[in-house]
Point group: C2
Chain length 476, copies 2
Amino acid sequence: MKCSVLFIEILIFGINFSSGEYVYNVNYVDVPVDHFSFTNNATFKLRYLINSSYWNNDGPIFFYTGNEGDINTFAQNSGFIWEIAPSFKALIVFCEHRYYGTSLPFGDKSFSDPIYVGYLHSAQALADFVYVIDHIQTLNGNGEDDSKNPVIAFGGSYGGMLSSWLRMKYPSSVLGAVASSAPILQFETPCDVFSSIVTSVFRTSSETNDCADVIKKSWSALRNVTGSAEGRQWLTKTWKLCDTLKDNDVEVLFNWLQDVYGNLAIVNYPYPTSFLSTLPANPVKAFCSKLPVTTHKPKPLIEELGRALNIYTNYTKQTKCVNITKSSWGGIDDFAWNFQACTEMIMPMCSTKRDMFEEQAWNYTKFSQDCYEVWKVHIARPNLAIREYGGKHLAAASNIIFTNGLMDPWSGGGVLQNVSRSVYAIVMPDTAHHLDLRGYNIADPPSVLNARYHIQVVIRKWIRTYYREYLNMYYH
Amino acid sequence: MKCSVLFIEILIFGINFSSGEYVYNVNYVDVPVDHFSFTNNATFKLRYLINSSYWNNDGPIFFYTGNEGDINTFAQNSGFIWEIAPSFKALIVFCEHRYYGTSLPFGDKSFSDPIYVGYLHSAQALADFVYVIDHIQTLNGNGEDDSKNPVIAFGGSYGGMLSSWLRMKYPSSVLGAVASSAPILQFETPCDVFSSIVTSVFRTSSETNDCADVIKKSWSALRNVTGSAEGRQWLTKTWKLCDTLKDNDVEVLFNWLQDVYGNLAIVNYPYPTSFLSTLPANPVKAFCSKLPVTTHKPKPLIEELGRALNIYTNYTKQTKCVNITKSSWGGIDDFAWNFQACTEMIMPMCSTKRDMFEEQAWNYTKFSQDCYEVWKVHIARPNLAIREYGGKHLAAASNIIFTNGLMDPWSGGGVLQNVSRSVYAIVMPDTAHHLDLRGYNIADPPSVLNARYHIQVVIRKWIRTYYREYLNMYYH
């Protein structure tokens, strides 16, 4: 279904955990299915991961606001939090987002009908987080308001959006938020900004040729070839597709390609990372280096492109065939995310003549029809998220750090300028999607190291002020 | 049912409208029944009142956040808003609260079952208000964010709580809030604070005797008399009760008396006001002046008390009999409010030896049992409101004015000290419940005149800043 809706990009987080580098206990809290009515009294088990190794009971709580996938993925790929927790003597909590991982309000039925999936709503997820924070404060004997441990929310991508919104909506529960690569403005930015940044990343990543230009040219070649059964047969074989390409799969293929290009730009990290498949360092550059196209004839161009795509689909050389119904990976649940993208997280996406994609307007009518077909839910309020979270009107917000890598396609929807004395924007010109939230790597660019330093200084200031003003406690 | 739950005081607003002094158009907007899930796509017609006589299209929107009753009541009893609107060139909107007045999401069925009444939730009401504000901005052609008219929320009592929460939760929709007599801290203040202030009002209002002391003594006299069928018969006749007092009506009577005393203190205004019945100026003083008790013998004391109660029940001398199942009046819906008090607006109430009431502990277990009997809804989260709105932790709030009269029993749950440079507390030592929000009266004490002046200065500053910073417009 993803294919039928243009550019419902997953706000991906990063790589799936493999080694389980970080350790924690797995706990569950019974949370209300519906925080905002009394029509449904049911509760369900929300999962959170917790590590108190570094904690001294007085320290802050570092609370990761889970996003669209298994919470283990985010715990294993947010090395920054683990690395700074000891010096803060922080309790580390990673809280799963409802309807992802094992936190399914209605078990197997959770996605089967609007009456079940309908509680998949960011406002409910935020209320879950507040519920869990309260629960953790109580575990620590801090039921009484004035002895609460200060909570810093962390999140990347959609999780970062949730971190910033959690601080905006529940400032008494959360002292401050670090929102990394959080495109909270994506609901109102020009729809071509994502395509435009992907194009720019491909354009600037190629050394010997204009990689973006080649991709731009490939669309008509692909249209040409896939226009006939014979051509589709040839493409299936040439690209080693798992299933023979049929006429009505052509749009699936095109959407899959768009996703692959977007994903390559998003995780264009300076060191190798592992997904379902594995990627080299600087994967866009690696992709482009495989695309020294000198011909513009359709078939040779498509053959070249197929070899370049292997960087994404078969870097390990273990992949038997390419499955174009799947462009993302373990840990991330693009099925559940599709529901969110279809109901409240409606981010208009398009591409123009200037982009390396096929020109494509944002078609809200088609989008909502496609969504209805899948979910049987009418989009009654396309601007729901703007209304609920205020869009770009952030003047009343406080204690939030927004970080964005300008090479990240999602940065077009990010907060790139300081809003006030306590709402900061940290911009990393040469960085992809929330690299700053990952653990240290020798290949990290200086902008990321600076951002990580800056974040620590700021949250230490928030926490110090909190201890001094509310708890009359010294905090070093 | 009210009787069975101790002190579910109505957060009353003021007098019912009689003359219809202020005029407006009555409009409706289709709003979602459930803003926070996709399980229920239904909408219902929410009523709002609008007056654009003073408006110049660029002016601010004065938006009254309706409380627990017919919105006309609040429109007719918020003279302050009407009086200052012309100098601000403001659009006046009074928006009804869902489940009150004619804004019933499920019509006649609205209260018949938890699946219908369950959407009566303050968070849903706030989302309604945001929805209506958006609607009004769009009517004015301000669909585009940057041309929005600044909105100032006004509210008294529970409506004031909603005004302050609206600013806290939706600062991009509402520039600032004037929250008059809004007991947002009543969820966590000591439970006897309400009883204690009522006692103080009665104590300080009597000129010739200690009125509170007489009331204090009356409880044992009433227990004594109502202990026998004969005594109840006598009391029925003496107090002209509509229905013969039965054994199991005694608690109803006691709760009714508590409510009457509370209400007298709440609307202890310096000029006559009209309810279902009519009250003289300074009604507590009037009540106490009718209670020159010299005897402590049960029956004579109760006779005196009956005459004093006539101030509340029969000031017009038109009342045929006293109905103890009803202590409040038209416009206010204590049935629907009871649901809110039973689910989220749980304000612990008690009275101690020092109060003029019978000593009574806060019994949460009994409270929740009584609530369950009426509504078939279990209170799963007694601290829901604190968690949702942050309780006393207001450090992150901005642009709110809290006004409180210290003679108002609800002021014990009010914000009485400045929180920050943009969250002000205005305290009126000699004033009852939100007198400042009413129209000018020659009998208004100077503290109220000062408060009204102060409010105007502050909201003009908010609006000026908004026009200058966001719209680059001059505002005088």
